[in-house]
């Protein structure tokens, strides 16, 4: 969890700093725009409905995916849908990754690669 939490905190902090500034600036360079998009998706992914606590492996999975920029081109209103769809996908078709995450509690390179592959497989179906 710490591995994904580190970049997450940084991205969110930078987003917060930029967000107020961006309201006034008219012409933003690409780097800033990307930062803003990333922060927006992260803020959206952090949201959670009441009475639905998540097991840690799902949390790590979705935060890893978000920190790798895989949510950047999903329209913000659909991020929630992506999240629940991704959980279902992991549960049904990549259950081994979830089990590995739950058992080891650490994000090894192998699990990270597995998540990269999983999201690559899930995205086209979702975006279509």
């Amino acid at each position: 969890m710490k591995k994904v939490a580190g970049p997450l905190k940084l991205d969110l902090a930078q987003y917060r700093a930029l967000a107020a500034f961006a309201q006034f600036a008219s012409d933003l360079d690409k780097a800033t725009r990307d930062q803003l998009t990333r922060g927006e998706k992260l803020s959206e992914v952090i949201k959670q409905p009441q009475y639905q606590p998540l097991p840690v492996e799902k949390m790590v999975a979705i935060l890893y995916v978000a920190s790798r920029g895989q949510l950047d081109d999903i329209p913000t209103p659909r991020v929630k849908e992506f999240e629940s769809g991704f959980y279902r996908f992991l549960e049904s078709e990549r259950a081994t990754i979830l089990a590995q995450l739950a058992a080891s509690g650490a994000l090894s390179d192998e699990i990270a690669a597995g998540l990269d592959e999983a999201v690559a497989a899930f995205r086209p179906g979702f975006l279509a």
């Binding site: 969890m1 939490a5 009441q50 009475y51 639905q52 606590p53 998540l54 097991p55 840690v56």
Partner: protein, 320 residues
């Protein structure tokens, strides 16, 4: 049947042997005056500080003021049942609460009396509520997280077993919701949760209990309630009672689904929102919370590890 004299004497002899006079020695006093939930009692020369006193009608009191001739006691219950001239007995026990297995899944008041209509509490042990906290040496440093199940907390401001966390926010901002979600998430994770509600409306507490039950979280939770209409000393006792129950789990362990859970126990205390910000204190300390809760604050103590954390670090999580 003819009664022989031999039979008669043996019957009389066994009756004499079985006779037990059973004299009971108790220190008693008489109520001089009662008002504002406080009783002045004449007598009770050997009452000790914070001793539980028994009033007629099963009401208990706490001896707080020990004066030369009188004892000032706070009534832990409905003071209407106590009147001048009533006899008060000492119980020989400093304030203690029933603890142990029998409390899991129940809703009780700070003295351990059941509030949930599920029958009496069959507790086998009681534990004193006031205790000296373990010192620094016996504590272990924090190394295991408490999984709250809430992304924002577990990722950005994680909390460990043995820590305390304060949740501050205006009313209706989701403070209790955070605590309740954490309790729900502890199902099957080997953490016993204690929810202490101080000064809240009983209807609110009832709703929370119903939510916990509907998510199957009540089985590993103890709910301690000192509602808004309960006297102040009872509300004051509530977090200490909760921690005493938690210490029992920590030191002796309880059985949950066939496994002995000894390690952690979580307790959450909440209090009503006053006009303005309400402070909520999530305390993961082994021993009692360091600060005494005032009517405005609520403390949430969660997860003490079995060998006790070495330094109870306090982190403040401001609810944005």
């Amino acid at each position: 049947m003819a009664l022989r004299s031999h039979d008669i004497t043996s019957i009389i002899k066994s009756a004499i042997d079985a006779f037990d006079v059973g004299a009971e020695t108790r220190s008693v006093g008489t109520v001089l005056e009662v008002g504002d939930g406080i009783a002045q009692i004449y007598g009770l020369g050997d009452a000790v500080a914070s001793e539980m006193l028994e009033f007629p009608g099963g009401i208990f009191g706490l001896a707080l003021n020990l004066e030369e001739e009188t004892v000032g006691a706070v009534i832990l219950g409905d003071a209407k049942g106590v009147k001048e001239g009533d006899t008060v007995k000492t119980t020989g026990r400093v304030v203690e609460v029933p603890v142990g297995q029998a409390l899991l899944g129940r809703v009780v008041d700070p003295l351990g009396r059941p509030l949930d209509d599920k029958g009496p509490i069959a507790a086998t042990k009681t534990r004193a509520v006031e205790r000296i906290a373990p010192g620094v040496i016996v504590r272990k440093s924090v190394d295991t997280p408490v999984q709250t199940g809430i992304k924002a907390i577990d990722a950005l401001i994680p909390i460990g077993r043995g820590q305390r966390e304060l949740i501050i926010g205006d009313r209706q901002t989701g403070k209790t919701a955070l605590a309740v979600d954490t309790i729900i998430n502890q199902k099957g994770k080997g953490l016993v949760c204690i929810y202490v509600a101080i000064g809240q409306k009983l209807s609110t507490v009832a709703k929370t209990v119903a939510v916990l039950e509907s998510h199957g979280a009540l089985a590993h939770t103890i709910v301690v309630v000192a509602g808004a209409e309960d006297p102040a000393p009872l509300q004051y006792l509530a977090p200490y009672a909760g921690v005493a129950m938690g210490e029992e789990v920590m030191e002796e362990g309880v059985q949950l689904d066939g496994t002995l859970i000894k390690t952690p126990c979580a307790s959450t205390t909440t209090s009503p929102s006053m006009p303005g910000p309400t402070a909520r204190w999530r305390s993961c300390c082994v021993a009692r919370p360091a600060a005494r809760p005032t009517p405005e604050t609520s403390s949430t103590s969660t997860a003490a590890s079995s060998s006790a954390p070495r330094a109870s670090t306090r982190r403040t999580a401001a609810v944005p």
